[in-house]
Symmetry: C2
Subunit: 383 residues, 2 copies
């Protein structure tokens, strides 16, 4: 199970694991893949702490950091003198209050009270300025990859990464974006299909990957729809040099997924996700729940706000919904959800991340072995 990209990144298997959980990142790196920590949930100081911990776990093996740098965000987020909460219209706050009431989620204090400065901090992290703080911290650690989701990597990020000799990866959902990302300095393209969890475009992995491979002259990783070895082998068949997986780690032992969410993930089928703007303001695949149904379908829904305002609103609400769901509140249980791809239908048991890596690589190797029989002794086409 080696491709050219394995040499380049010093890994045993061409398996990149995106996770918000440091334990998953370290476990995958130690199992021979490359763990990538999603940094958006952290302040620069917190990120530093997490990366110090990872450094202590992986003994010099390569890992990466992913920052969320949207190409276009609501202008309000750039104005540091304003409180972001002030830009959230009353009817959006009212709709959240309405949902809390309808689903019986307790609300001991006014909804906005709990958000304030922390909300501003989180909301600004997805601005170019906010991301830069995280990038600075990341590059002070011995990372092997820095990834940029949503938009082209900012020139500063590319320049600093180049200086530190850290390859830059960029997630794309179209061929056009892949070309633009390479022009902006991306060293690796993650071609992510519409079946992926989180922010995605609408072209499937099967269709997107070969087109991106043909369009750019840098290595391509396939993302979206990959949680098993047959899918990993399929990604290599499509021309990818490796795979980038996110959803499959959510049900590992290490993942900090809320218990109420983990139960939903384990029970869900591949029909139970939806691409919705209701959690971040941009289309992101997630579990279908009362939250997505209400925002996207209810008569009284004001419709989602732009990023980062909707993210701010949703994260604030979801923090409370998650706690209530974990305490067994049935209404909160209907609302709670999380970003996950269509592979959720394959996630049926909890195990260590290390075992997921080994199972995936074993199944991929067995698949490649099986494919030999298709050509061995088989016909070749005529001219």
């Amino acid at each position: 199970m080696r491709t050219a990209i394995c040499e380049r990144f010093g890994v045993e298997f061409p398996l990149f694991a995106f996770s918000h959980c440091r334990d998953v990142v370290a476990a995958v790196t130690n199992a021979g893949g490359l763990g990538v920590l999603g940094a958006v949930a952290y302040s620069p100081q917190q990120l530093d702490t997490e990366l110090n911990w990872i450094d202590g776990q992986v003994g010099g093996r390569p890992y990466g950091v992913d920052v969320l740098v949207p190409g276009r965000i609501d202008a309000s987020a750039a104005d540091r003198s304003a409180r972001l909460l002030d830009f959230i219209p009353d009817r959006h706050l009212d709709f959240v209050t309405h949902l809390f009431g309808k689903y019986g989620v307790g609300m001991p204090e006014p909804f906005t009270g709990a958000m304030s400065a922390y909300a501003d901090e989180v909301g600004r992290r997805v601005t170019a300025e906010g991301a830069t703080g995280l990038i600075d911290v990341a590059l002070r650690h011995p990372i092997g990859l820095i990834a940029s989701a949503l938009g082209p990597p900012p020139p500063e990020m590319v320049a600093r990464a180049r200086e530190a000799e850290v390859p830059v990866a960029a997630l794309v959902g179209t061929v056009e974006h892949a070309r633009r990302q390479v022009a902006a300095g991306a060293d690796v393209i993650v071609a992510q299909g519409s079946e992926a969890g989180g922010h995605t475009g609408d072209i499937s992995t099967m269709v997107l990957v070969p087109q991106v491979v043909d369009a750019v002259d840098v290595p391509v990783l396939a993302a979206g729809g990959i949680a098993g070895g047959r899918q990993m082998a399929a990604a290599l068949a499509l021309g990818a040099e490796g795979v980038w997986c996110g959803s499959v780690w959510l049900t590992t032992e290490e993942a900090e997924t809320l218990p109420s969410v983990k139960r939903k993930l384990l029970a869900a089928t591949s029909s139970d996700t939806v691409r919705s703007r209701s959690r971040t303001g941009k289309p992101a695949r997630q579990l279908r729940s009362a939250w997505t149904e209400e925002w996207d379908g209810a008569q009284e829904s004001p419709g989602p706000l732009p990023m980062p305002l909707q993210m701010l609103l949703a994260e604030g609400a979801m923090a409370r919904i998650g706690r209530a769901a974990d305490s067994g509140d049935p209404g909160a249980g209907e609302l709670v959800n999380y970003f996950v791809g269509q592979v959720v239908g394959q996630l049926n048991r909890v195990g260590p991340a290390r075992r997921v890596v080994h199972d995936m690589i074993e199944e991929a190797a067995a698949t490649l072995e099986r494919l030999r029989a298709v050509t061995d002794g088989g016909h070749h086409p005529g001219p």
Copy 2:
């Protein structure tokens, strides 16, 4: 390029080609694949003529027939005493008239005048009774496969096919439907991802195929997102024994695709399709055009009718729109569209169907060859 299914169907390559055009069907069968004629556009008499022609072309090589048997249709279609057109509400007819006016499509006679009995005939063809007439004709020819799209194969169809020793294939978009189809007697399952053209579910090929393969004990063909050899090899990696392709034939020399549509297909990217109910009443992937945009987005749109009423309305309108678009009418050119999958972005030149087969098989063989290097001399995972 041989899998177990090649022996079973007596074909050289595990490549099944769905087309409404007899020339494509014969060309693919003669090139070593298995052409499948979509029968919905024909009356039983016309189908007989088409199959006689194919019999004369293929020298006993295997080909198949596909009928459209929806699991659920509007009750009005079953009432033979009624004229189907009578069930189309005035505001739907008015909306079509409005579109014709807005886009300057000529309308020399009242819209409904041109539909009448032919419309009833077409509309009823997708009822179980209508499909039965086509099945009877098909089974009088030496066909090697009979396929049922949309719903489980009706018991009569299965019984007759068994008697004639013709395998029954069924298209599915979920694991649950696959199980149901096998229980209903399907011998082969076509697992069709959301990226496919025509009627599709919302789970991608990458995610759907391995789950269906694990769920049923009959051979599985992969459909959706497959128009090249890398995608064919990926489908085999996912566990499919072969592939089922539709869109890729639309731009072949043989295809009877309207010139105005062919031009659009050649120019389209993979972002230019949409799953819409505006042509048949059920979600079907097609080129995004003014037709889909108006039905799905316009303020004054009455929304699509159920199948088969919307199909009837849309086919009647599209026949005229197509003629006008082919005569260079720019408004009609905006409206005209056709069913096609996301692979449309890969369709950039016109060539013979035979060449498409050969190119796909050659690329698939080269891909399988390339994949050998991934394991040759590579590491195997530890325990």
